[in-house]
Symmetry: C2
Subunit: 272 residues, 2 copies
């Protein structure tokens, strides 16, 4: 980025916390600098976890961009800073995030959503985040994507999960069943039984299961007549948007890249 | 067994459907006959699934012991019969069982529970079964044990799941949280966050998670003031009994071996 926050070059790769060995981060940064020149650098997300370059800790919610900028972890000699995550500890509730805080506070700053808004960031660990006037005040993490992946890769349902997942009649049926289900634990086995009894095509099981899990995730929220601002890639974003609309809310997809850029640039400005 | 249903010898092994290759069943039976003599044989459970010796099909609920005895699959030349499973297909609900039907109808016949009773058979796929006057009328399968195993073996929680699971304060806390939780999907991640934030000992995470899942399973039932007849090994049976009692029901552990013997002997008598 230039000093004004304009993006001069973007690069995406899959060198995430699961694929970079501990101790491998300085070499990753060196490779980026070899490509783009020796610029100061700032990062957010799992690079700041105990599995990443260095544990950057958490700041407690409520948090704003200035809170994050005031708690950066600086890596000596590397001209590199890591943004802390945000934690929540309130009564019985405990939750953490890393990286999503920069996106939602950036979206808020850039006006991509109203000053007070509910965000949803679907993924392995889906985040539901409330931002009020520039402050991240509350959030909940749902293990939706990870449970789907566990069922697809390792469960008794695995052999039935080779079909594509897309918005369609079976995904919608899964959404609706999730709203009336006694328990997701019985609905999951019901998908298997329906295939064994010839009541559900094997090719449709994955879409049904996705609908059940995403429906179970969304229905746990109070979303009636609320607008939910969704930050996700288009495929997963559209599934969550369908779920939100089906369950009585309104969904707006926002540009997660623009949101992150706005947030991280503002943190950079604040810490200079 | 002798003709009167008295057990003369019992043998347990771990040669289940996951460990016996398809095509390996005749050799398994031959090995048993080498040991016990060439007796007629009858079996129930996953040996009658499409992954077992031969698919023995299902009879629809409601089913009684005579229904099962009238639908045996006989393996030609092997002097061997397999009891069918029971299926349920009602509106949107689909469910199947194999093996549990012999246990609960046997328990009913042997007077191990009242003529009309609710049974719980905890396990990888926990069954909740209603028997009314000797007829298995309704049932629901919960994927409780399998989800626990997936989380323990393959999830982001795996590294925190090495502690023992037993009835105790943390298991009980998990049970209670399950009753008030918005969603089990958020509670699961909450266990990880609580460990990361130092609010829960790493050694206690497995017990808490077990309480959350078993609590989520039991609370989906209407068990207030009901007596639940539990068929399980003592360790898992005592966890479910604690859950039932904590959530307002009464639990009675019954002898699953005696129940199976009574059921399978009666089927044998009926088909002679």
């Amino acid at each position: 980025m230039d000093d004004g926050g304009r993006v001069l070059a973007t690069q995406r790769d899959d060198h995430g916390v699961k694929s970079v060995a501990q101790g491998g981060y300085p070499a990753e940064l060196a490779a980026l600098r070899h490509q783009f020149g020796h610029l100061p650098a700032i990062a957010a997300g799992m690079v700041g976890s105990s599995l990443g370059w260095q544990d950057a800790g958490y700041v407690g919610a409520p948090a704003e961009l200035a809170t994050l900028a005031g708690a950066l972890t600086r890596i000596e000699g590397a001209d590199f800073a890591i943004v802390p995550g945000v934690s929540l500890a309130e009564g019985h509730r405990a939750d953490v995030m890393r990286g999503e805080e920069v996106q939602v506070l950036g979206a808020n700053l850039a006006g991509l959503a109203p000053r007070t808004a509910i965000y949803c960031q679907p993924g392995t660990h889906t985040k539901w985040i409330t931002v009020e006037d520039g402050r991240l005040t509350d959030f909940t993490t749902m293990m939706t994507g990870e449970i789907f992946a566990l069922l697809r890769d390792h469960s008794i349902l695995a052999e039935m999960m080779r079909g594509a997942v897309a918005d369609g009649p079976l995904f919608r049926e899964g959404l609706l069943r999730a709203t009336s289900a006694q328990s997701i634990l019985s609905e999951l086995f019901g998908v298997r039984a329906a295939v064994l009894l010839g009541r559900l095509s094997r090719d449709d099981a994955a879409a049904m299961l996705s609908g059940l899990l995403i429906g179970s995730d969304v229905v746990a929220r109070q979303i009636a007549d609320e607008t939910i601002y969704i930050l996700a890639d288009p495929a997963l974003g559209s599934l969550y948007a369908a779920a939100v609309e089906t369950l009585g809310g309104h969904a707006t997809l926002i540009d997660s890249h623009a949101a992150f850029v706005a947030g991280i640039h503002h943190i950079w400005e604040l810490q200079r």
